[in-house]
């Protein structure tokens, strides 16, 4: 089951509010 990552912080927090979930944030450095 692949994870679909948000890349918009505002949208992620809004979805968390709507779905009563917490937010998993991962910091990534490309390359």
């Amino acid at each position: 089951m692949p994870i679909t990552w948000h890349d918009d912080p505002v949208a992620a927090l809004a979805e968390a509010t709507a779905s009563r979930r917490a937010v998993l944030v991962e910091v990534w450095k490309p390359g």
Binding site: M1, P2, I3, V27
Partner: protein, 154 residues
Amino acid sequence: MDAVSYPDRAVAELIGKWLVPLRLTFGNPLHREMLRGLGALWTPTLWVLDRNGREFRRETGYLEPSDLHSVLSEGVALALVSGGRAPEAEQVLDRAIGHYDAVHGARNGSWAASLRYWRGAVGYLRSGDHVALDAWWDQVRLIDGNGPWARRCV
């Protein structure tokens, strides 16, 4: 993490039920403010935040699947408690303890103690039951000996 830990079935199910995944990238101007607010220094680092952006768990470095499952479960549980949802937090930690024990053998492994530490704390926050707290923390002492989790069970 992408190749092994996130695709793990237990991890994916936990994330799907309890978490909204957000990946921030150094160098992305849209992420700069949040990265600064989180104090991000190293990759990979992950956080569990509540829907208001308050931090409940942070961990740095590669995590194999059962370790990641434990870290995320602790973060979710603490965010749930903060939101007045302690019974759900207890369920999350109970499942995490069962999963971790199934992978590593009962009461073994580096996260076995911390999961039980928090399970005791979350139960106490809901019930105020010292006896139940001591029962969980007795398990922590049994697992961790004189380690860092046992020493904080006072």
